[in-house]
């Protein structure tokens, strides 16, 4: 099983790496980070924070875009292009197929994160900003956030078109970063129906704010490591659950 999983993951990795969209996104991300250098002369001592903040935000944003755009067509494209026939007619479980696709995209995201982070550190060195390894923690937490988003994108990709999948995943990303608002919303309205739906969404949607520690690392505020570990565990469990749902949907399909 692991051999097949690995083969499928490597194939997905090759597919994305040979895709110009991915390369373009990584290059643009680095260019955006470098653009922070422009503000240096006018930022009056704030330049360091701006460069770090912008760099980490660009890494997150562009990796989220990769997860959403590439992830959203991951399974759909195989069905549409009928390449899936040749995979599933072989002794390959549909579970292996979904997990292989997912792990392949995670490999792509890890490589993208590494390249972008290297670019980020390059920009800091060129800008003569004091370089600190503490910033890496933000990138690590971004990886866990991406694990969840990729699972969301794969789930949608098993039954809707890439565009719909991208839109839904982006909505989940957006709401996922404002889940505390949902709880406030539940408290604000007396209507039990609205209360129910707001709370339901609060508990069911991923709380992605847990993975955003950019403020802390940029301002050198001490991190709550047990809390981060908990968030990482949450990401693993949440992603695994979504992938299992994807497999259940996928198992029922005809091709």
């Amino acid at each position: 099983m692991f051999n097949r999983l690995f083969s499928l993951a490597v194939n997905t990795f090759k597919e994305s790496i040979r895709d110009r969209v991915l390369v373009a996104l990584v290059v643009i991300a680095v260019v955006v980070m470098a653009s922070a250098k422009i503000v240096q002369p006018v930022a009056m001592g704030e330049a360091e924070k701006i460069i770090k903040d912008l760099g980490l935000s660009a890494i997150t944003l562009f990796c989220v875009l990769i997860a959403i755009l590439v992830g959203g067509r991951l399974v759909y494209r195989e069905v549409e292009k009928r390449t899936i026939y040749l995979i599933l007619a072989r002794p390959v479980r549909r579970l292996e197929f979904i997990l292989g696709k997912y792990l392949g995209l995670m490999m792509v995201l890890v490589v993208s994160l590494v390249v972008m982070t290297a670019g980020f550190y390059g920009v800091m060195l060129i800008s003569r900003v004091p370089v600190s390894l503490y910033l890496i923690w933000s990138v690590v937490m971004t990886l866990f956030e991406l694990a969840i988003l990729t699972a969301v994108a794969v789930l949608f990709s098993t039954f809707v078109s890439p565009i719909a999948s991208a839109v839904f995943t982006f909505m989940i990303y957006f709401i996922g970063h404002s889940t505390p608002l949902l709880k406030q919303l539940a408290g604000m309205f007396p209507s039990p129906v609205i209360k129910f739906f707001a709370l339901f969404a609060y508990y069911i949607l991923p709380n992605l704010n847990n993975f955003n520690i950019k403020g802390e690392v940029v301002h050198n505020i001490p991190l709550n490591f047990p809390g981060l570990l908990l968030s990482a565990g949450y990401a693993v469990v949440y992603s695994a659950t979504l992938l299992m749902i994807s497999v259940v949907i996928f198992n029922r399909r005809d091709f």
Binding site: N11, R18, I87, L88, A89, P91, V92
Partner: protein, 315 residues
Amino acid sequence: MSFSQRPVIEAVRLTKVYRTGFRMRRIQALVDLNLNVEKGEIFGFLGPNGAGKTTAIKVFVGLVTPDSGTAYVLGRSPKDHRVKRRIGFLPESPYFYDYLTAEEFLLLSAQLSGIPRNEIKPRVKEMLKMVRMDYAAHLQMRGFSRGMLQRIGIAQALLYDPDVVILDEPMGGLDPVGRKEFRDIIISLKERGKTVFFSTHILADVEIICDRVGIIIAGRMVKSGRLDEILTAEVESIEVTIKGATGKFRKALERVSLRVIESGDLIMLTVKNEDDVERVLAIAREASARVTAIVPRTKTLEDYFMSQLKTAGVQ
């Protein structure tokens, strides 16, 4: 019945309905389809476009679950991995990962089929050579022609040396040379004791290589059996070609013939039976014309196929 005596592919009352479009219109793809393919035979699965050939094949390779009825391949469910390991499958106009090179794709296919690691590379090389694609092993499949893709398709189907080979429209898009090569490959598979099941709407291919055929129309199997059973050797008509008959003799010849085709000073007459042939010959002798050919026409698969289509009411 012992395991080895069971048909290699067995379909029992397969039924499949698709629902498509916004209004979920029902499309009956398979209706109580029964079928047996015995070990070591080449079975041709014939039918017009949209008859349900591809759906049936997808059931046999485990891509589609029938609504009712059962399919067995090698005596087990087509979804069983022990079965999948022994099937080679080529889908209709196959699409491959065009970002991979031919060799990379075959390596991936081999890994997924569970071929032992140390056998993979030599096996892939051997298959590329067999389909005469070794020259393109390191090219991305993006730029491959239809014929090249079809060759890679057969290579991936035969990678694991499968016992059963299922091919959906394997001759589609191939030029005459490619078709001849394909037929040779299929025949060599039979010689090695493999079972070959392939669908087509090109009747000539079937007449040349198949042991048995099944004809599917609108999701139903309307006939299956050996070709010589389906096409009785009964003479349908006789064609007589005559050179140099003119004037009143020509008129006389036209009267005894069903059809007359003229080409230069040659006349080709189609007559109903041997008595009519005698009459034609008598006229020709009288006219001192030369008879250059007498050819009896038996029923072809095409005639049979067309008559079946007519009975089924399919245009």
